[in-house]
């Protein structure tokens, strides 16, 4: 326990580093760092388990600044606790182009940033995933290898966002008691006081969700300590409401939204120096305060040494798992599945093909944790031998996320970030919209998360347009750094799984059909899906046209190819299971696949984006309708006959 007056100075060091950096950048959010400095000081100085010299220590406590706009608080903490990756120069370069100290904490920019935050509600929700990952890893590998807390600082905005409700509800259900959330209860949002938009009793609400709830003065060190102690003893996740004053210390702006998102300015900061008796110049931290800060993490040296010893004598599996390595021969059974498919030529939906793949994969990859947002029976994400985690029994590899797509997305992010886990999760493709903000963060952070998105077109049928994705393929192809796979048969589905699992630094979508699809591939030595596109059915003699199709439309294109040939038109059919990967191939390969004849694209979705490759685009540029799938395909002109007719007439015109 550090003496009160020293701790106060340590907290003020956080305040002034933050205020000075934000002033220098002339941009940023001082309110939260100033208001929460005391809570952060107690947490980091006395409780949190980190080793600045080993920032990736697997069993460190995780810290998520869910209110990511308060980034300077985190940068100040990392600098003062002695992370080598951040210097005073970096702090002075806050928000400059190319600096490590971006406007919001960016995962990968700086050691000690456990996730990218900024979009409200994402941090607290991914922290649920980290806390869940911790319990799963603990159950698998024991206390010596994984046994840590996940701490969160969240603001009013995080609690108002619906995603946090979803995630908190699941955290309460699963009794993730090593999750501790500090709520910066300052009653201020951008547009004014919280009571202008909310009257919710947050503590009662969290209590209703099975949380331990505490309420403290966020500037009282004894209360902060007592709360952390209680939280660590609880058998439930804990929300600590910390009554704070936004911008504490700023004489005229504190307690108002004026200090939320704008620099304090020279005058106000000078007055704050007076007010908080901080006579030091800009960016200067007295040696003894800096020394106090740097000593705080020596607390954790014994724990770190103990862990290193335990880890070095742990089974190789553990070391591979936390390094994100797939086991040797993990896909042998998957390769056998492809061989068998070539022989047996099963006609199955690609969601079913995905289930076949999971049966071949899951037993061989200990890192995998699957799940679905209450559609396991439709997404076919749960396979024999899997076990669902539950409160108190975390030794499983399946999560029942409930009807909470957005939380599923965020929790998968948290599990992937924690390490030791490769998450996949299912819902209907159309409802991926509900988790789009989390998917974007996965893409931005470059993490391995796999979305099993079934019912991928009007092939959904009777459920109608609310359940039929149309614009979704295009909308994800437009998003940077995420792979959108739409396989056409069992072989391509297996290849998509292989590629997605080996892509360590970006998320992947598997868009899968509801309806049965014939096997089209005739060989499987090479992973052609990994090339993005390839000629799946070549022209007989001279290519007069090329039809590019994806997923369920590839077999229709192959039918049309036969019709066209009988009419004297020789075409090639290209399957393009992943547009993004195709764009990464050499120009030579691309030209070889696309050929020089006219190109027609054919996909049961919006044609938007297809002009990149095709001169004629066939698809569906309106919402779908309710009715049997085959009638819908016929109505929208997505049949072999209609396609053949379109190609013939296009060539005639071209």
């Amino acid at each position: 326990m550090i003496e009160e007056n020293r701790l106060q100075k340590m907290a003020n060091a956080l305040r002034f580093l933050s205020a000075d950096a934000i002033n220098k950048a002339n941009s940023g959010h001082p309110g939260m760092p100033l208001g929460m400095a005391d809570v952060a000081a107690v947490l980091f100085a006395e409780y949190i388990k980190l080793n600045p010299a080993a920032p990736k220590w697997f069993d460190r406590d995780r810290f998520v600044l869910s209110a990511g706009h308060g980034s300077m608080l985190l940068y100040s903490l990392l600098y003062l606790t002695g992370y080598k990756d951040i210097t005073l120069e970096d702090i002075k370069n806050f928000r400059r182009f190319g600096s490590k100290t971006a406007g919001h904490p960016e995962y990968g920019h700086l050691d000690g940033i456990d996730m990218t935050t900024g979009p409200l509600g994402q941090g607290i929700s991914s922290a649920v995933g980290m806390a869940l990952a911790e319990r799963i890893m603990n159950a698998r590998y024991g206390n010596d290898l994984c046994n840590h807390y996940t701490y969160v600082i969240a603001g009013d905005g995080c609690l108002m966002e619906g995603i946090s409700e979803e995630a908190a509800s699941l955290a309460g259900h699963l009794r993730l008691n090593k999750l501790i959330v500090f709520w910066d209860n300052n009653n201020i949002t951008i547009d004014g006081t919280v009571d202008k938009a909310s009257s919710t009793d947050q503590l009662m609400r969290f209590h209703a969700m099975g949380w331990n709830t505490l309420s403290i003065d966020g500037r009282n060190y004894a209360e902060i300590r007592a709360a952390v102690e209680k939280a660590r003893q609880s058998d439930k996740p804990t929300l600590i409401a910390c009554k704070t004053v936004i911008g504490f210390g700023a004489p005229t702006k504190s307690g108002t939204s004026k200090c939320h998102g704008s620099p304090l300015g020279a005058e106000e900061t000078a007055a704050m120096r007076q007010n908080l008796q901080w006579p030091y110049p800009e960016f200067e931290i007295p040696a003894e305060i800096k020394a106090d800060w740097q000593q705080t993490q020596t607390r954790n040296t014994p724990a770190y040494d103990k862990w290193v010893k335990a880890a070095s004598s742990a089974a190789q599996e553990f070391r591979d798992v936390i390094a994100g390595k797939l086991p040797r021969n993990w896909d042998d059974e998957l390769n056998a599945l492809k061989e068998k498919a070539l022989e047996e030529k099963p006609k199955v939906a690609t969601r079913k093909a995905s289930e076949m793949c999971l049966k071949a994969i899951v037993p061989h990859i200990p890192q995998i944790v699957g799940g679905s947002a209450d559609l396991a029976a439709s997404n076919l994400t749960f396979v024999d031998g899997m076990k669902t985690v539950s409160a108190g029994d975390y030794c499983g590899n399946n999560v029942m996320y409930g009807i909470r797509e957005h939380a599923m997305g965020a929790i998968m992010n948290g599990m992937a970030l924690h390490g030791g886990i490769i998450p996949y999760g299912g819902t209907f493709f159309v409802f991926s919209d509900y988790m789009r903000p989390s998917m974007r963060l996965a893409a931005l952070m470059g993490i391995r998360v796999i979305y099993v998105l079934t019912h991928d077109s009007i092939g959904v049928g009777e459920d109608g347009p609310t359940h039929q994705p149309v614009e979704h393929l295009a909308s994800y192809r437009a998003m940077p750094n995420i792979l959108t796979f739409r396989p056409c048969d069992v072989v391509e589905t297996a290849e998509a799984w292989q590629t997605a699992l080996t892509e360590g630094h970006r998320p992947s979508i598997l868009a899968l059909s509801r309806q049965g699809l014939p096997l089209l591939r005739t060989a499987c030595e090479k992973n052609l899906t990994a090339k993005g596109a390839y000629v799946i059915s070549p022209a007989k003699e001279k290519r007069q046209a090329t039809v590019i199709a994806t997923g369920s439309e590839v077999s229709i294109a192959v039918e049309a190819q036969k019709i066209l040939f009988s009419r004297g038109i020789d075409t090639a059919v290209v399957s393009m299971p992943c547009m993004e990967l195709f764009e990464e191939q050499s120009l030579n390969y691309q030209l070889e696949v696309l050929g020089t004849a006219p190109v027609i694209s054919f996909e049961a979705g919006t044609t938007f984006g297809w002009n990149r490759f095709a001169q004629r685009t066939i698809g569906l540029d309106s919402f779908g309708a309710s009715g049997p799938a085959d009638e819908l395909y016929a109505h929208y002109g997505l049949t072999a006959d209609a396609l053949a007719e379109e190609v013939a007439s296009f060539l005639h015109k071209a």
Copy 2:
């Protein structure tokens, strides 16, 4: 009050119509209609205020089947209460292609469907918007013209989705006491019992959000009645937990997820006929039961007649408002603003231009209700003279939605559907992802909702990639039936507002800049934005290339045009503020605008989709970064010099 045994038969009529139709379609969800038939029978037979002969009666009670998969319950209710728009034939055609009785209730397909539901959580959240619209209209026009309830049937899924938390929290805050939600508390979801994924005490949670909460046996008529009476007396919104058995009556499948989403089948339905003593053949409703049902709405004849009288003597404004008509001369001031802009040539951000427009619009359109998800000061959505609605004082035209983008989207849908209101709402463009599912529903339903989405590119600057939209323009252009406007100056912004407000049957996005932009237009007699695209700066002599740009990039393109001309390359610049509207123009017009010279697109976002018009696409196909906006533009090659260089080198190659 109807006798118990007659009411029971009326409820069973709902059950068997539903089960029979689902069997015949061989597709559908019998569980909810069977479980909630008693609640629905009491509500519709004894309480709800409708007039089947005047289905669009403005002051009718609204009914939202938030658990939209239970669509047959609604179709049965509409048929039995005597809506002329639905026949027994329609019920027999359930889920057939082209039928009015789609898999999920589709707004516009059938009188009496107050909104499209199916995506869980949307119904209950839009119902909050309807209840808010009712209070606003009541405050403006009085009890005689608007004074009704909004009833909702919601399932477990609706309560688990985060959007419902957001909306319910705001409903509690605003004390929307005419909102009454029946929760089908059957403890079953698709993947099994609710307790596998949730332990939340829903009643406590809603109590924490300021709701009145009740708990009843959903098959006990006295309890249902007492609950409705109490709810109608409450000064808060009410959640009634109705303990029910999913698939009630089906002897082997009730109480399990087996009857959630699959037909009962002939055998089970036959056994159910035995079980519930319903000796009538498929689709046959005995005359006396039908008569009982048809009489139920005569209750409301006096209220309807009274309303007709009041409405006919109401001010013309009221009749125009509920008809969705804009007042005469509503845009005079807006036109004057454009003229003035041509003279004064203000350099302002388009978000600022939008604020100037709102100042000119809001006083003249009584229907407008604006708002923002806690970013009013950034989105510039609140203008002088507006008043924020609050609990008990609904006579306003601004809503403080809080940090709840998704609920904002759904609530705006509800207000637009209710009628009498044209909603607009603001957030950062990048966070529109949070409300995308509601935006999709607005597009699908074809309703007038306007999204004011500011900070529309890397122009956001220091806040970094989490706050910088890149893929968003493309993602909305790919979505059917929604207009994406990205104006380049004050005149285009005013034109975009004019077009969005006059588009009665589709939603519109206004993507607006954070940074200041010069005035480019030189004339404003014609609304050129309504054409989607036009030559904003023609070639001097002979067009050698055409650059298409949007929003903040148009002025950069005009600069590049000058540089290119000095290098001997004569180009035209096309501004394309709305790609969707341009695609609706005549081919002649399109060709005139695009010309025959090579086309280069230039937009600070993903190039995905631009190949439709351009042979060379310049944009940003990665996430952005944190730093000053001008440095980012320079880094990503989005300057006049870089563009000129690209065009010159492309022409050289082309």
